[in-house]
Subunit: 271 residues, 4 copies
């Protein structure tokens, strides 16, 4: 007879922090995203020598402000969530810790080498940006399409890597170690840069046969650029069909074709 009772204060805070359905929850998430964005920009600016020299003090204040703010946010999340340990061990729980830890570590290990190590960890703070994904529904379909096509995509990239290794070795032999192609790993790096149509130009062929091979490799990369697109488009179209279909009124199965008049699973007529 009793409806779910009035949500407790803790429950309401949990909803604001973890969910984005309520206006307050959405406001919280958008504010957080802006703060994360600003903190990432500060980390980036701090790495510019000229800025580091002139604004070392203010940047450190901002850095610490963000760290304390995000630490409080993490503690609040831990205190309101139903299973704190499960949250702490979750993907986002770990990222939340890693995105504040480097600043604290900097206090205890002020040495030069330590600083360099800290930078590696500090970079992980940017994973916060991925939280954004939770708020947009469109992402799920993409992830499902990528998952459904994972076998084809794996085969495709195995081929790409195999072609790069073979083409790189060939170029090493053709161009010889006296030009830019000093070793097979370097040549394979060049082959990947070429087949993806990236083309830095730091390593370039000079012999006639090397240029012929380069042209062939470039055309191959240009041609097979179609393959992942074809795979993904087919997969997305299939999923889209699934999404737009009604459930069978009799057995509840989804994914009927648009003109289905009978459920393909139980044979009951579709209304």
């Amino acid at each position: 007879m009793s409806e779910p009772s009035q949500p407790s204060r803790r429950e309401r805070i949990r909803e604001i922090i973890f969910e984005a359905e309520t206006p307050a929850g959405r406001r919280f998430d958008v504010t957080l995203l802006w703060l994360i964005g600003l903190s990432v920009i500060c980390v980036m600016l701090e790495s510019v020598p000229a800025i580091k020299r002139d604004y070392a003090g203010p940047l450190q204040v901002v850095e610490w402000s963000f760290t304390i703010l995000f630490t409080l946010e993490y503690l609040l999340r831990l205190s309101v969530v139903r299973h704190p340990l499960r949250y702490a061990r979750s993907f986002y729980g770990i990222i939340d810790v890693l995105s504040v830890l480097p600043t604290y570590l900097m206090v205890f290990f002020p040495g030069m080498q330590a600083l360099l190590v800290i930078r590696v960890l500090r970079m992980l703070r940017m994973f916060r940006v991925f939280k954004m994904v939770r708020h947009v529904n469109g992402a799920e379909l993409l992830v499902r399409a990528l998952y459904g096509a994972r076998a084809k995509i794996t085969v495709f990239f195995s081929f790409m890597v195999a072609i790069s290794v073979i083409a790189g070795t060939l170029m090493y032999l053709v161009e010889g170690p006296h030009g830019d192609f000093t070793s097979i790993p370097t040549s394979v790096y060049w082959a990947v840069v070429t087949i993806t149509t990236l083309g830095f130009g730091d390593i370039t062929p000079v012999t006639a046969f090397g240029r012929f091979l380069t042209s062939a490799l470039a055309l191959t990369g240009y041609a097979v650029i179609a393959v992942p697109t074809g795979i993904l488009t087919t997969e997305l179209a299939k999923l889209d069909g699934d999404d737009s279909s009604e459930a069978c009124p009799s057995c509840g199965v989804h994914g009927h074709l648009p003109d289905a008049r009978f459920c393909r699973r139980c044979g009951a007529p579709m209304s």
Copy 2:
């Protein structure tokens, strides 16, 4: 009983200038497009030092001719349109003003710094080119597909930027500030140039691990190039289906071809 009365002279001019359905209106728009194109080319040529030096006089004459012509056109538009103020505040009304203003401002502020500022505004004249879009129907479908897929596209580009920021920071740490990767913003710029398969080659990795990361980033960019294509293709296919499909008035089936006169399912005539 009364048919719409003879359109007034002002109404007829309005139709020529604002609409492209009548032969006169189409001629006016095509002429205008050619003039805009020529004026844009003149602005571009004026920036070439050798041309500026030798043809400063003629270019200024041409510049002023276009400015006066476009000013007259703007005044004519204002005088014949039904709601002059609404037009003046519209997107195209503002662009029309901005595309003649810089030349006039140049008279009153002949200083060097002012000139530089004027150039920024002058550049806006090129927005006129966008008017072209109004005349081709095909654009609308594209815009609708892009609008329909905006959530997925936003997620995709958030991911791209996030990957670029992380990859750029990693490369800054791996390659060290002694090579080309002098700061995180520079490295992120490099990561964007790499993931989009642009590859200028002004900044290139030299360490083995840096090159391995570059290969991974290039392959990622090459792979996810499929994602926006897949999204847009699915969306376009959906819109195309929507456009051509009236339901059969007799059996309600959808998905008829655009020229269908009879339902392909029940044979009843389509209204």
Copy 3:
């Protein structure tokens, strides 16, 4: 009562030369394609300074052999075709003349400047390669898809050019004429190279804002690479449906959907 009479000798030669359905016709066309390919390679080799110096004599012999062979072929085509004048004026007729003319002109105008002009014409011989297209059926579908989508493609490329002009001008203003961006035309060239994800690296931004704009332009190019693909895929899918459908047995109209039970034009049942 009389079947079409025995084809005359001239008619049989015409079939061999102009059609590829008979085994002899196919053999003729394949041989011709190989000869054209070889002659193109000779023209290319002649331009290499080292080869030109050492093999000037043999190359001239080969050049004249091909020219005489192709001249004889052209005269044969003229003599067997039903309407010689119509052939001579057709696209392929003009290309056939242009692909032998430069060698003959070289005799009468042996001067240096003339030689340069002749080279421009000689290059047109390569258009022969396009004949290849006539033999493969797959090409027609592509051309029809491109034709069907011409409005959307025109709009798309107008946008691309407009964005390149605006982005190029912005970069000219941002980077200033002291760096690589020496004039607006040069900057627009750079913008096209960037938005197409080509990225030569001969012109690169050095200011922070310039690099930010470059990143935005690269991402734009990377994103809208989807647009022509989406357009063409939709168009091809539509055409493919058309091709695979049977004609209506009653009115002969094509392009029915795969599950059509009644002709969409005349309402007659599809067998």
Copy 4:
């Protein structure tokens, strides 16, 4: 009455080595893939001058271990397969021999030139990687799609090569042999690098008209990147439809989803 008798020991080994259906067979194949991967990495590392100098001994030991292991594997394959000669002549049989032969040849021909030749063959060991393909089902669909679209793909790449040859020749004439465009073959190489949006930047235009042509070529390459994608997507969609579609045994309608148990049109059970 008799079921197939207990498989012999030889038959069981054959199944483990040649098939991947049994757990033992899968384990064998995965182990082999790891070993092949490691051996390829060793070949690559040996080409790096610094590594070759410091670790020549260990690398040779590893090299010989892999060679002996793969030789034993090859002999085992020969001994258990039903038709040894047919296997030895098959694609994989030849690759298996070629991937061990170079190391043995190195013993008998220790000269410098011979070593270079051996390297060419050694590179073929990397073809082992292609074995990977046998284990993933997704590859077959791709290969079938590529095969089904081979006519269209051939036409497309003929066009690409033709455009590259013409554009390269034009650039040779426009830029002149005093810049980077020293000969037609070099210019054609540049044209391929440009049209595939690769853009090394080792050869770049400097004249205004050359840059205009480059822009046009880049936009062409950017536009027609859609063509192979469109072709392949259509083909893949067709194949996907083909695969999932048994005809309904009662009404003959095609295009059922893979898990359909009842016809979506007439409701009859699918066999």
